[in-house]
Amino acid sequence: MAGVLDTAATVSWIRAIGAVIAEQEQHLTTLDRTIGDGDHGANMRRGFAAVTEKLDGEFADPEEVLKTVATTLISTVGGASGPLYGTAFLKGSMAVKGRAELDGAGVAAFIRGAADGVKARGKAEAGDKTMVDAWLPAAEAAEAAAADGADAQAVLSAAAAAARKGAEETEPIVARKGRASYLGERAIGHRDPGAESTAFILGAAE
């Protein structure tokens, strides 16, 4: 990946997400079977397969790519993750409106928009054992890296590392949102599937 995310590089990144998600479908499903209802892998695969099909089209700028991802996810994923990832990409895209390419700060703005969007839409707080626990640290890490002058790729890497750590840290806690919340103490020791898929999305370009 280049130091900036132009339209083509944004498309490549999304394509890479599609590949990672397809590869990790079973893993995500297994996580979701343990503390949810076992469909997160299939949901994400279905959504990003539809997204990938749209990537052959013409896009004016990164915002348009990211908005297409958003609307496609909203209309193909369903479940909790569909509206939440839809909102993430929608609010993220709105945060980079008008930019022909995303530098480090642009990527950080996208991730912050996405993180805040997910948090607002799902009404989850940090520590509720949801994808918010990956998005929020990712946004902070991205902003810190961008402030240090990191380029697009480096900002995305910093965000991915933080998301992965955030996903891991969902393991020891009980859930307060999503299906896992029904399990009470029994969710302890298991990773949140949505936090895991967020880490895959942010890490797909690596």
């Binding site: 499903t29 079977r33 949810g36 209802d37 076992g38 469909d39 299939a42 949901n43 279905r46 909203i74 209309s75 193909t76 994923v77 369903g78 479940g79 909790a80 993750s81 569909g82 509206p83 939440l84 839409r121 799902g122 859930a175 307060r176 949102k177 999503g178 299906r179 919340s181 029904y182 399990l183 009470g184 029994r186």
Partner: protein, 334 residues
Amino acid sequence: MKKLINDPEDVVRESVQGFGHAHDDILTVFEEPPFVIARKDAPVAGKVALVSGGGSGHEPLHGGFVGRGMLDAAVPGPVFTSPTPDPILAATKAVDSGAGVVHIVKNYTGDVLNFETAADLALAEGIEVETVLVDDDVAVKDSLYTAGRRGVAGTMLVEKIAGAAAERGDDLAAVAEIGRRVNANTRSMGLALAPCTVPHAGEPSFTLDETEVEIGIGIHGEPGRERIAIESADALTDRLLEPILEDLPIASGDDVLVLVNGMGGTPQSELYIVYRRVAEVLAERGISVTRKIVGNYVTSLEMQGASVTLLKLDAEMTELYDAPVHTAALRWGL
């Protein structure tokens, strides 16, 4: 995994097609966007319309409750996965007669968010939507700190009674109000003896050994809150009833509707053994069972288990429950 299916990818499509064909006298299936099951005569002029939906795998919920006196449309998502806003919006538009549409939504994050988006989009097109959230499952405690109680078997009672209110000509606010009243007076709790397998997952949602029972299961193959050693049907029934009776403000002399619901793989004979115990306990407490219904209504694929639902009735709810209904899964008076 052994199932009577073709490709796991095609389960919902083929099943809904078969369902549509089998019940073409009362409903129509639209496949694009996938899927909307609408009452044959929708939109019914002047009538408030009811739309429900959610993940598939709970049949006959919701498609089996489409028809005169109950739902105007149902939107089945993939197995155990809420449908996206597109078909919900399509269903809402297809059945609106101008009198407005009530969305009956089981309280799961996915269902709530997708119906919310669809309602926003419908409003943008000038359709009034009221949402009735169903959250009857007392297995979920501390609801302040969770996604809240789940909507389970009580959903069919909300759909039946609100559907009858719409059929008799109540306006949008009134239909939504009675739906919420039913929900407020309904409590459910379920258990599983054996889990179910989501076709595309290929493996059971949880595993239980030969002596274990999951208490407080939901309807998506999610495990319950507690795993115990198997007990007699009477003792297990008591475990379901107890939290219901603790939570539902009910007293000697009150009227209730009892719903004993099978999770899909339980023989009817066992459901009646559970019903027998429920009737016994309620009689001891002086509570009158004035309506009762036993069967597989809100299921979890082939899961073995059952749930108990109590609805504290008033005269109006009773009258609306008794009103004629003609759907694939519930029919009387017509």
